[in-house]
């Protein structure tokens, strides 16, 4: 065949903060030939397009410039991630896409230099996440130009310097929505409103006033209008009223979904909640020697979390390379009950050990200071009261002190919010 056959020790798919973090730690720990494949012309992942500061400080959720100060800008963070990986000898190849599988740890690639088939002793998937586009959210109406996701908007403005419009409506109220608002204002647009179907704002009134645009809560987008250009967003409010916001630009933000296609094409077990690969506390997927890190596993955490996870996965990957991949005993699934949406990691191995001592969760609906109850086969393993309300699109956490109480031969462990 016309594919170049190659072998490496560790193949990292995706050169965002998670993949670069994994490669840096692995190359530094003597994992052998560690190669990162990044389909874009530049590595660094999503932070490359986030011009605001606040990166590099773990777990602060800085998706916009309006958060606390500190850290570096997105592009600087991206460059730092690249430098850290390349500096210790990881091989970074950009403009090379992994297009499919040809074996349990063999992938097919396309790049300007041709086609390859690369076999690795360990594969680390770090393909990230995207926002659901308008179509996938089933928002009815017309389909004219002027409809964006934050990802497309930030690239259009920050990478290509494209002109966007004059009046924008931002849909969503997760941190990334505020990132979109920053980008829009930086590009000179007026923000007509930020719209969320959630009943209450997670932001304190003070911050909202500072933001300088109305936040419409409890409002559902019922239709987009406009023929040659988007001209309006129709809303239905909680009290049944309908209104139309005039605008020439709409940005759909948040509603993240993992970039999981490669994982699915590879036949990896997918978690019903996260829609990323099911994985255990050692970043192991359902296939031996295939690991996963970053927002592919939980869309979406901030860049610091992704990078830290990347580094943390080096230990289990090294263990795998040494031939001690699978612990003895079955994996126990970890599941959530609605309105909780997902938990990550979501499989528990007998040797479970969390790299940062906690699980991350999402809820589908606001819950005021819930109790999280962990149980297995009707047996309560743990109960914990959260000190703050939990909100859709925002992470909250569960400690891991109960892990040793799991029956490794029991059925799924459940997390319920009361």
């Amino acid at each position: 065949m016309t594919r170049l056959e190659r072998s490496v020790d560790v193949l990292v798919v995706g050169g965002g903060p998670a993949g670069l973090g994994a490669a840096a730690e692995l190359a530094a720990s003597g994992a052998g030939h560690v190669e990162i494949l990044e389909r874009e012309q530049d590595a660094g992942g999503i932070p490359r397009h986030c011009l605001h500061g606040g990166f590099g400080v773990r777990g602060t959720g800085r998706f916009s410039g309006s958060g606390p100060r500190g850290g570096m800008s997105g592009p600087a963070f991206a460059r730092a991630c690249v430098a850290a990986a390349v500096g210790v000898g990881a091989v970074l190849r950009t403009g090379v896409s992994v297009t499919g599988w040809d074996g349990p740890r063999t992938v097919e690639t396309t790049g300007p230099a041709g086609l390859e088939r690369i076999t690795a002793r360990a594969v680390v998937l770090a393909t990230g996440a995207r926002e659901r586009p308008r179509s996938a959210r089933l928002v009815p109406g017309s389909r004219p130009p002027g409809i964006y996701t934050t990802g497309e908007l930030q690239r259009a403005v920050h990478v290509h310097g494209q002109r966007i419009g004059t009046h924008a409506v931002v849909i969503g109220n997760e941190p990334v929505a505020h990132g979109a608002a920053d980008t829009l204002r930086g590009a000179g647009l007026d923000i007509v409103a930020m719209v969320t179907d959630q009943p209450v704002s997670p932001l304190p009134a003070l911050v909202r006033a500072w933001a300088g645009f109305p936040l419409l809560t409890g409002a559902t987008v019922t239709r987009l209008t406009g023929r040659n250009r988007i001209s309006g967003v129709e809303l239905r409010h909680e009290d049944g009223r309908t209104t139309t916001l005039r605008c020439d630009t709409v940005v759909f933000t948040g509603d993240f979904v993992p970039e999981h296609e490669l994982a699915r094409r590879g036949g990896l077990v997918i978690d019903a909640g996260t829609r990323g690969p099911a994985y255990d506390t050692g970043f192991r997927t359902s296939r031996d020697g295939v690991f996963a890190v970053g927002n592919l596993l939980h869309a979406a955490e901030d860049a610091g979390v992704a990078a830290a996870e990347g580094r943390a996965c080096a230990v289990p990957v090294l263990r795998g390379l040494a031939g001690h991949d699978r612990p003895a005993g079955p994996l126990v699934p970890l599941e959530v009950d609605p309105p909780l949406r997902w938990v990550a990691p979501n499989r528990i191995a007998p040797d479970a050990e969390l790299h940062d001592g906690r699980f991350v969760l999402r809820t589908g609906r606001r819950l005021p200071r819930p109790h999280l109850v962990v149980s297995q086969d009707g047996r309560e393993l743990h109960r914990q009261r959260l000190l703050l309300p939990v909100l859709p699109g925002h992470p909250f956490h569960l400690g891991a002190g109960w892990l040793e109480r799991i029956d490794p031969h029991g059925s799924a462990v459940r997390i319920t919010a009361l």
């Binding site: 016309t2 594919r3 389909r39 403009g95 896409s97 297009t99 396309t110 790049g111 300007p112 230099a113 041709g114 086609l115 995207r130 926002e131 659901r132 586009p133 308008r134 179509s135 996938a136 089933l138 009815p140 109406g141 017309s142 389909r143 130009p145 964006y148 996701t149 990802g151 497309e152 690239r155 259009a156 990478v159 290509h160 494209q162 019922t222 239709r223 023929r227 979904v257 296609e261 699915r264 094409r265």
Partner: protein, 473 residues
């Protein structure tokens, strides 16, 4: 021959008598381009005028993309004959022109006893339509063929020749061949008025006057308006909207065939079908509306489709949705095409090409050319057109990103721009410099698939737009 394509701001000709076109086709949808292509085989001065900035930008861009066998048509209709002829013509043409086609076959499924009882009648109708390959499948065989079907399917009629086709490459191939053979294509050119100028028609267009001896009206949804310029009141086009949902490629393995419902008086019903791009379609709805521009989707339409889809293929509903769109069928109140020649007026109306126009397009082209000859147009001897070879955008054949030979020659074919659809820089560049370059980023998408994938431009939208803007004259 030099290619003549004009756009807004450019002259279309002086309108003087020695500039008269022999024939002008109004409307560059799949029907108008097919007619223009057929006319290109003769030594005629032919114009194709189109109101939009691109060809194939009306109903022809938004359909279900099935190459029908016509097994269920009304056997005595003109439509039945042209669909029957057209599907063979187009299948052969597609193979030589690089238009993706896959013969996946259809299963017309009975979900209750009443529907089951109708299958033999449909089989007999297929026979009357000259289609002899249809056969009945029992519930067991049906389940084996389509393991993901919802519960309750009792049996099916198999129509092995129903195929899926690329709806965008088809008019593009026709139009490309036509303009290369000397047909003038005038875009951004809406026909506003038609007057008799003694032996020729004087068209008033949004870009100035244009004179032509013969006129073909292939204006789709607006064919009735063009027809009225001749004082006719023969038919009125009432748009019948069809909304569709496109599911992501990971859904493709859930379905092997085109899954048809048993047709009712209300129409052909909601189907599930693979696409040549490897997606799965669910639709269309069938809604009588009065606005010829209302290609909007609606909450009711989407809910209705999802409910139907859940019944047909429950697992489909768990897959990500890539796109929702709507097309408008040019219904005229009669269940047949309205193709009518008017010798005294040197005019042929091609109206009411409702829901099979893609399939029948080449046969319509030949039929209309015959009618023009019958009304007195001297055709002369036909010549063979040099073949077109469109870049492959279908999944059934190797796409450029998998072709080591192409990449070795030009690394641009190894540089992916749209990652969801695996569209390379080389393909985008080729489309931007092709015989009929796209008139918008959307036109570029229809030619290459760039931006039509699951992320809808999250990753590549800005880059594709930049490439489009860069290539603009």
């Amino acid at each position: 021959m030099t290619v003549t394509i004009t756009r807004a701001g450019e002259p279309i000709g002086s309108g003087a008598a020695d500039d008269d076109y022999d024939v002008t086709v109004v409307g560059a949808g799949v029907v108008g381009t097919a007619i223009a292509r057929e006319l290109a085989r003769y030594r005629l001065r032919t114009a194709l005028v189109e109101a939009s900035h691109d060809i194939g930008n009306g109903t022809s861009k938004a359909n279900t993309a099935i190459l029908h066998t016509g097994f269920d048509a009304d056997p005595d209709s003109l439509e039945a004959r042209l669909v029957r002829e057209g599907r063979h013509l187009l299948a052969a043409y597609a193979a030589e022109s690089g238009i993706p086609v896959e013969r996946v076959g259809a299963l017309l499924i009975a979900w209750d006893e009443e529907q089951l009882a109708l299958l033999p009648k449909l089989l007999a109708k297929a026979e009357r339509n000259g289609y002899h390959a249809a056969r009945m499948l029992g519930a067991g065989e049906l389940a084996a063929r389509e393991p993901h079907l919802g519960p309750g399917a009792l049996g099916a009629l198999e129509i092995p020749d129903e195929s899926i086709i690329c709806p965008w490459s088809t008019p593009l191939a026709y139009a490309t061949q036509a303009v290369r053979a000397g047909v003038h294509l005038h875009l951004d050119c809406r026909v506003r008025h038609i007057a008799d100028a003694g032996g020729s028609h004087l068209l008033t267009t949004s870009r100035g006057p244009l004179r032509t001896r013969y006129l073909v009206n292939a204006a789709g949804l607006h064919a009735d308006e063009i027809d009225r310029h001749f004082g006719h009141d023969g038919f009125t086009v009432t748009p019948r909207r069809g909304q569709l949902i496109v599911f992501d490629k990971l859904a493709r393995e859930l379905v092997g065939h085109i899954l048809l419902p048993v047709p009712t008086a209300a129409g052909k019903g909601v189907l599930v079908a693979p696409t040549v791009f490897g997606n799965v379609l669910l639709g269309p709805t069938s809604e009588e509306i009065d606005d010829k521009s209302a290609t909007d989707s609606t909450a009711d339409g989407i809910d209705f489709l999802r409910e139907k889809g859940r019944r047909i293929l429950p697992a489909l509903l768990d897959e990500e949705i890539t796109a929702v769109y709507a097309g408008l069928r040019a219904a005229t109140g009669r269940e047949d095409y309205r193709i009518q020649e008017y010798p005294a007026l040197r005019y042929v109306a091609v109206g009411g090409i409702r829901s099979t126009g893609l399939t029948a397009s080449m046969a319509i082209g030949a039929h209309v050319t015959g009618l023009l000859a019958g009304t007195g147009l001297e055709l002369g001897a036909p010549r063979a057109l040099p073949p077109v070879d469109l870049p492959n955008v279908g999944e059934a054949f190797p796409r450029p990103y998998r072709r080591a030979d192409l990449i070795a020659e030009d690394p641009a074919y190894g540089t992916l721009v749209c990652h969801c659809e695996q569209v390379t820089l080389g393909e985008i560049r080729d489309a931007l410099h092709s015989t009929i370059p796209p008139g918008s980023p959307d036109g570029l998408r229809r030619r290459t698939r760039a931006g039509s994938g699951r992320c809808q431009g999250f990753t590549c939208g800005a880059a594709v737009r930049a490439l489009y803007e860069e290539a603009r004259p």
